[in-house]
């Protein structure tokens, strides 16, 4: 199992991976399986990055396990193991409840077509054209349109349809109607094809299984190992400084935030002025707030769905979704089936959030605002679980400040950077020989699946760089 600190590490590795988010973890495992020596350094005491969990009393709370696309099964099978991918199952109860519509769906293409042509009364041809168009979208013929323009072409004036098709994606990756249509197309096609999936055993079992696999494949895994510097010798990357010690490596992959990696960790002089100013201009994605609710032992929640996209806002509005005055919440309801053998229920309420709304509050105000958010969330939840106030025994709030503290992401970003971060991340190794970046950037490389796949893509680049 992972060792704390860097005592006893070798003095040189083929590759050092900074950060054990899903991008870093998968990259490290792929490189180890390709025969490379790998050191994985994580500053936190736990692996997983944002894919994390925590224990309170007898509850286990999942932070980022609302659901992921079907593609995760293949990715986990190929780059981890069949045992791990075998625990992925579909979540069938996806609910929407807002002033414009209330419905339940399995969130797959077949069901969406049924909904759009039935209840939303769009003709079959338009729906088929929309799905065909979105599916075919790729980088090579990106027409520069925004998501909003895409919807306007297919469903003019239909803000109810925009809400149905967009609200979950906005939760999933913070994207807005002003983001490039291409990023929406890719994420939407991934999710829409077969529905939403989860991991039986919860995030803790998932990450523990990944850790076992890493150790089996020879990765040297270290927690409580904070990388302070990436060393550049004027020509290429030669290693890192971690917990005050220098460790050499043929290559370095950073799974830390893109901007932190380039602007804080990397030695001065490694970046040209142009690359640096382009990096400085990259916008960070929004953060999140969550309320965690633990249900008392012996109490039950009737089945109300797995994932509830709820909103009291009249219309879909991404600015409102980010507002500290929360109108939209996603409730993830975790039933005992998630962790077989344990008769436990938890509910996690998530909202998109802006770091700046929480950053500068006085301690007193911060605590008061957290309490208000928790209370307001219980009020809303009463609609679905009327006795929630009497059956819960734990209530806790995470804000953008919490996310920043645990992952060191700039402004507690939940989903990496906006679109312009992608070329910076991808071209980094052409700018600085031996340095690579993986992890959430540009929406499409975000989420469990996006980050894991990006880890594999980057492992291939690193392996090529290290040579035969």
């Amino acid at each position: 199992m992972a060792v704390r600190g860097v005592k006893g590490v070798k003095d040189k590795y083929d590759c050092i991976v900074i950060g054990a988010g899903l991008g870093g973890l998968t990259c490290a495992n792929r490189l180890a399986r390709a025969g490379r020596s790998v050191l994985l350094l994580e500053q936190h005491s736990q692996l997983g990055g944002l894919a994390t969990w925590f224990r309170r009393k007898n509850h286990i709370f999942d932070v980022a396990l609302h659901g992921f696309p079907v593609g995760m099964i293949k990715t986990v099978r190929k780059y981890w193991s069949k045992d791990i991918s075998g625990r992925i199952v579909q979540l069938k109860g996806i609910r929407f409840d807002n002033p414009q519509f209330q419905l339940q769906t399995t969130y797959d293409k077949v069901d969406f077509i049924k909904l759009l042509t039935g209840r939303f009364k769009v003709d079959q041809q338009t729906v088929d054209n929309f799905f065909a168009h979105v599916r075919a979208m790729n980088f090579y013929d990106d027409d520069g349109r925004t998501v909003g323009e895409l919807f306007e072409e297919f469903f003019p004036g239909r803000d109810d349809i925009v809400r149905l098709l967009m609200e979950p994606i906005t939760y999933a990756n913070g994207s807005t109607l002003n983001d490039p249509a291409i990023s929406y197309g890719i994420v939407f096609s991934n999710f829409m094809s077969k529905g939403v999936f989860t991991f039986i055993g919860g995030t803790d079992l998932f990450i523990n299984m990944l850790e076992e696999e890493l150790v089996k494949n020879g990765v040297d895994v270290r927690t409580k190992a904070l990388v302070e510097r990436i060393i550049y010798d004027g020509d290429k990357i030669t290693g890192v400084v971690v917990n005050g010690e220098t460790i050499r490596a043929g290559s370095v992959v950073s799974n830390a935030n893109l901007k932190t990696t380039l602007l804080d960790l990397l030695d001065d002089g490694a970046l040209s002025g142009k690359f640096r100013s382009e990096t400085e201009a990259v916008r960070i994605n929004n953060s999140s707030s969550q309320v965690y609710i633990g249900i008392k032992e012996g109490e039950k929640i009737e089945p109300i769905g797995d994932l509830l996209f709820t909103s009291v806002a009249e219309k879909f509005d991404t600015a409102k979704m980010l507002s500290k005055d929360v109108t939209s919440r996603t409730f993830s309801v975790y039933y005992p089936e998630l962790r077989p053998g344990q008769d436990k229920y938890t509910i996690v309420s998530s909202s998109n959030s802006r770091y700046e709304d929480w950053a500068d509050l006085s301690e007193e105000q911060y605590q008061a605002d957290k309490k208000a958010l928790a209370e307001d969330t219980l009020d809303r939840l009463e609609k679905y679980v009327p006795n929630i106030r009497s059956i819960h025994d734990h209530l806790e709030v995470a804000t953008p400040r919490t996310f920043k503290r645990y992952t060191l992401h700039v402004d507690g970003s939940s989903f990496g950077t906006k679109f312009e971060g992608l070329p910076i991340s991808q071209d980094l190794h052409k700018e600085v020989a031996g340095l690579f970046h993986t992890g959430s950037v540009a929406i499409i490389m975000s989420g469990w699946l996006g980050a894991a796949n990006y880890g594999v893509i980057v492992a291939n680049e690193v392996d090529r760089y290290l040579g035969v």
């Binding site: 025969g35 190929k78 594999v456 291939n460």
Partner: protein, 83 residues
């Protein structure tokens, strides 16, 4: 390696990446993608395995050479015949 060896080596790699696919009836001249559930991640795996097993490098600009089994073997032959 002969052409047949190279072809078998490629098939072995794909079979390992896609254990559930039947590789028996593969048409040499048809795009692999039309016959198998191969996505772009799978192609990366093929490239990485070729590097690991045979020390062969396939630069990104040549990825389209891996279109059919025939074109793949043709492309790899000069790189692998001396193995």
């Amino acid at each position: 390696m002969t052409k047949e060896d190279i072809s078998q080596a490629v098939i072995d790699i794909i079979q390992e990446i896609l254990p559930d696919e039947d590789m028996g009836g593969l048409d040499q001249e048809k795009p692999l993608r039309d016959q198998l559930e191969l996505d772009s991640m799978d192609f990366l795996d093929i490239v990485m395995e070729l590097r690991k097993r045979y020390s062969v490098e396939v630069p990104e600009k040549d990825y389209m050479e891996l279109n059919t089994l025939q074109s793949t073997v043709q492309y790899l032959q000069p790189k692998m015949e001396s193995l």
